[in-house]
């Protein structure tokens, strides 16, 4: 009874969108693909079972479509992560790690979830994930559900939330129940 009551409402909500702008995954991807990149501030909150309270980090993101993403963490410890093409570079103090993503299919799929969404590359995303879109153009959420068990072994769901062509937050739900949420606030480009 309750279920039959909600569904029509949902249909009703969806109805005008389909009529006016055909709001669906393709439309979101097109809109995201138009994003020209730029800088943003982020705050990331990780909830880890082992710890009594979440770990919070913050810093700056730079995105250069389609392949380069720089995450510069300022707090609590300076750290630089650069994702460029198929290499991932992590610099922390004196230590430097470089990962060639092509060698690590799981890591590549994980990275592609982020890069594929930012650049609106549906084909890449659907290689590893099932997509589920909710909301409307002004307030949407996109769920990525891994269909490869090797990815599902460490991440259950990745959710992007945003408005129009702007991603505003990303939430990772890990297989062990820990989760992290990153909120993104664009810095206006001149």
């Amino acid at each position: 009874m309750k279920r039959s009551g909600v569904l029509p409402w949902l249909t009703l909500l969806a109805w005008p969108l389909h009529v006016h702008s055909a709001w669906d995954v393709d439309a979101l991807m097109k809109s995201l693909a138009r994003h020209e990149g730029g800088r943003a501030r982020f705050v990331e909150t990780k909830t880890i079972a082992l710890l009594d309270k979440p770990v919070v980090s913050s810093g700056e993101l730079r995105y250069q479509p389609p392949a380069r993403l720089e995450k510069r963490t300022l707090k609590p410890k300076p750290e630089l992560m650069v994702l460029d093409g198929d290499t991932l570079l992590l610099e922390r103090g004196k230590q430097k790690f470089q990962v060639r993503l092509a060698e690590q299919p799981e890591a590549l799929a994980f990275v592609d979830s982020l890069r594929g969404t930012l650049s609106g590359d549906r084909a890449t995303l659907e290689k590893s994930y099932k997509l589920r879109l909710d909301g409307n153009e002004q307030r949407w959420t996109l769920d990525l559900l891994p269909n490869d068990p090797r990815i599902a072994a460490f991440v259950l769901r990745i959710t992007f939330g945003g408005a129009n062509s702007q991603v505003e937050w990303i939430r990772y739900l890990q297989a062990d129940g820990d989760s992290s949420t990153m909120t993104i606030e664009p810095v206006e480009a001149r």
Binding site: K46, D52, V55, V56, L90, R92
Partner: protein, 778 residues
């Protein structure tokens, strides 16, 4: 046959049997260390040992091409499994994820003995708070994913210290769980042979095992039919060099043998005489190999290669004998010709004796080989051939050849001024080209094909395998002292890394710290109750509660006592890949232990040797080694030495001739053609753009040795040279040119060098002797 004849034959036969017996026991090698010094300085000694026995001399680089990547990876795994189980290999690495995980487990369980961060301060309340705080901060990073599960056991992050030290940023790429080239077309493996570099037989066996194992695995895997095996590394070079040399020696022996036999047949027209004519050569060659084997304990492949050149000179003796002597009148030959030949033999021996003093075992072997070979060949000609001479054998009258040639040589006699003119031109050429005469690179002696070198470079690059590169070396009588010294040096090198002088370095103490260091680290671990108390205090206010860290307390307690965690030693590392790394860098030597710390040059280019030397200067016994440069410098030094020795040989020959000829005029008449021939050959090589190596020098010495016979015969003929003698010289010259001409076509640089020097040199020596003899040929 006279009684003395019987005795000579008996002695000769016994000698041959003895030589064959010695040769049957002889070990033949082909490693480049023969061209390294015998009496080296400490660093040179190390260099030679590295080439002979070091990890590099045992490292095989393996690539698998063709087929699908996944099938290739499967083949790589099965191949690695087979090699690891075979007795020829000390270790195999193919980047197998499971094997790497085992290494990581080993590091993790010994982290409190291994981590450089472990010291008493680390486990104070403050130290713990700082280390745990860092770990929590790290959880905020993407790298946090790696450490989250380890945190209850390792809250202070020792594993991060170790992994950081492992240098995760270099090493081969991988795919499908094994090492794979960047472009994904080659699966890659590294294998270490048990046999050291000097044991070419053992390495050949290991290579055969590798190829067989590859064949078997390929057979059994469904999609592997079109996969190919690529192998490189020093063992391949040694084995390949030996095979090339062997093949070349066979080919050259056949080519020059057939040519020489054809000429001899033409002249002798008698099969028995031909067979006899070859006896001195064969006896000389056998004696030469046996002498080297007895003198050096082993024989280098190149020495054998040199054997073919001996044909060129030793066959001359029997030509002289058969062409110059008459049946039943050996006494006449002994009286008229033998003294000249004997002086020629002595001249050659004096020349080659200088090589015995060479610091290069390779050259000393050549010297001993030539001396004993020539001596035996001459003795066999003198004492064994006459009694064996078939009754009724009369060599066809060769005087016809002599008569035919005489006018030509007579004409040459009027060209005396031309000889001196050419000499002046040659000297001028040499002066102009003086900076381009010598090749100072050791690698030029290597018989490696460019294709093999290119493959080596590409596999080395993909595997990130160490090249020759840069090393810091420390030594001590005891292993522990050597490790402790390496730890001190590592501390200095770390400063250089921070300053950017070097990009990084390896040290065995990363995986095998000295006992003293392990002791200090163990002593820094507090006992359980105390650690629990400090931990509670340290975690106050942190989001990580002490109660969650019980596994940490357990692990530290385990690490505190030798009963629950024995000292980390070579035994514990055995079976892991860490042992390969340690073995490569920690060497037991006759005089004690050496530790090698390979340095990585900064991306910007070369290492500033001065700064590295300065940094390790106050560590006694520590030395910085630029291996490539050191090897070349060494070679240049020994080239200088060889030049001096050759000049000494030349001088010795001059003294010998002065004493036996007792006349300055005659001395000049004999020496001048030889000296001018040498000058002309050198000038010719310079004009042809061929830079001389040590072996060209040996060739020049041989030119003098062969040419002295010609010059002496021309000199001996006081009035005019007899047609018979002239004929013997011409035939001898033709066979010499055939022998060395064949060598000049060789792809083995060493053999080519000798051929290209002696071939023209011998002809020139004959022509110049005729020119300077002053037209006294009839």
């Amino acid at each position: 046959m006279t009684r003395s004849g019987h005795r000579a034959i008996a002695v000769w036969l016994l000698g041959l049997v003895a030589c064959v017996a010695v040769i049957a026991q002889t070990r033949f090698t082909a490693d480049m260390s023969a061209f390294m010094p015998q009496r080296p300085s400490a660093t040179q000694q190390l260099l030679v040992e590295q080439l002979r026995e070091g990890a590099l001399s045992r490292l095989l680089l393996v690539g698998i091409e063709g087929g699908e990547p996944a099938a290739r990876a499967e083949l790589s795994k099965q191949l690695a499994g087979r090699l690891a189980a075979s007795p020829e290999f000390a270790g195999v690495q193919n980047g197998d994820a499971a094997a790497l995980a085992k290494d990581r487990d080993l590091l993790f369980s010994h982290r409190y003995l291994l981590s450089p961060a472990v010291n008493p301060g680390r486990f104070t309340v403050d130290g713990l708070r700082r280390a745990i705080g860092d770990s929590i901060d790290l959880l905020a990073s993407p790298a946090g994913l790696m450490i989250k599960s380890l945190l209850p056991r390792d809250p202070t992050g020792e594993m991060i210290e170790l992994v950081g030290a492992l240098g995760a940023d270099h090493g081969p790429a991988s795919a499908h769980g094994v090492w794979m080239s960047r472009d994904g077309r080659r699966a890659l493996l590294m294998a270490q042979t048990v046999a050291p570099g000097a044991d070419t037989d053992g390495q050949e066996q290991a290579l055969a095992r590798l190829r067989a194992a590859f064949g078997e695995v390929r057979e059994r895997l469904p999609q592997a039919a079109d996969m190919r095996l690529l192998v490189s590394g020093t063992p391949v070079f040694s084995v390949d060099a030996r095979r090339t040399i062997r093949g070349e020696v066979e080919r050259l022996a056949i080519v020059s043998g057939v040519g020489i036999i054809a000429v001899l047949m033409l002249v002798f027209r008698s099969l028995p005489a031909l067979a006899l004519g070859l006896l001195p050569v064969v006896s000389g060659a056998l004696a030469g190999v046996a002498a080297v084997s007895l003198g050096f304990g082993h024989v280098h492949g190149l020495t054998i290669g040199f054997g073919t050149t001996l044909i060129g000179e030793a066959v001359d003796y029997s030509i002289y004998y058969f062409v110059q002597s008459r049946e039943g009148n050996d006494g006449d030959w002994r009286a008229r010709f033998w003294p000249t030949i004997r002086l020629g033999v002595l001249t050659s021996l004096f020349g080659f004796a200088s090589l015995l003093f060479s610091g290069f075992p390779g050259l000393a072997q050549l010297g001993l080989y030539s001396m004993s070979g020539l001596l035996v060949a001459a003795a066999v000609t003198r004492f064994v051939l006459p009694p064996l001479r078939p009754a009724g054998f009369r060599p066809p009258d060769a005087t016809a050849i002599g008569r035919a040639v005489a006018p030509l040589l007579g004409g040459l006699g009027r060209l005396r001024w031309l000889a001196f003119g050419l000499a002046v031109l040659a000297v001028a050429t040499l002066v102009v080209q003086r900076d381009r005469l010598w090749n100072l690179r050791l690698s030029e002696l290597s018989p490696m094909s460019p294709a093999l070198l290119a493959l080596d470079e590409s596999l080395r690059g993909e595997l990130g395998a160490p090249g020759q590169g840069y090393l810091v070396v420390v030594g001590a009588p005891e292993r522990e002292a050597a490790l402790a010294a390496a730890e001190r040096v590592a501390g200095r090198l770390q400063v250089l890394v921070d300053q950017g002088v070097i990009a990084g370095f390896e040290t065995p103490t990363r995986f095998l710290p000295s006992r003293a260091t392990q002791q200090a680290r163990r002593a820094a671990l507090p006992e359980r109750d105390e650690l629990a108390r400090r931990l509670r205090e340290a975690t106050a206010g942190l989001p990580l509660r002490a109660e969650r860290l019980a596994p940490f307390l357990d692990d530290v307690e385990t690490a505190r006592s030798v009963e629950s965690q024995p000292w980390l030693d070579a035994e514990i590392l055995k079976g892991s890949h860490l042992t390969l790394a340690v073995d490569a860098m920690l060497l037991q030597r006759q005089s004690g232990w050496s530790v090698l710390l390979p340095l990585r040059a900064p991306a910007a280019g070369e290492i500033d040797a001065g700064r590295v030397r300065a940094a390790v200067a106050d560590e006694p016994g520590a030395a910085f080694l630029d291996v490539g440069r050191e090897a070349n410098r060494l070679y240049a030094e020994y080239l200088d030495e060889a030049i001096v020795l050759s000049l000494a040989g030349f001088a010795a020959i001059a003294v010998l001739l002065a004493v036996s000829l007792r006349s300055v005029r005659r001395l000049l008449r004999v020496m001048a053609p030889l000296a001018i021939a040498v000058l002309l050959v050198m000038a010719g090589l310079a004009l042809a753009g061929e830079r001389m190596t040590l072996l060209h020098l040996v060739g020049l010495l041989l030119t003098v040795a062969v040419g002295s016979n010609y010059a002496l015969f021309f000199d001996k003929a006081d009035a005019a040279i007899e047609p018979r003698t002239l004929a013997s010289l011409v035939v001898a010259n033709i066979t010499t040119v055939i022998g060395f001409g064949a060598l000049a076509t060789s792809t083995v640089p060493v053999l080519h060098a000798i051929g290209v020097t002696v071939g023209p040199g011998a002809v020139l020596a004959l022509l110049l002797s005729a020119m300077l003899a002053g037209g006294r040929a009839r």
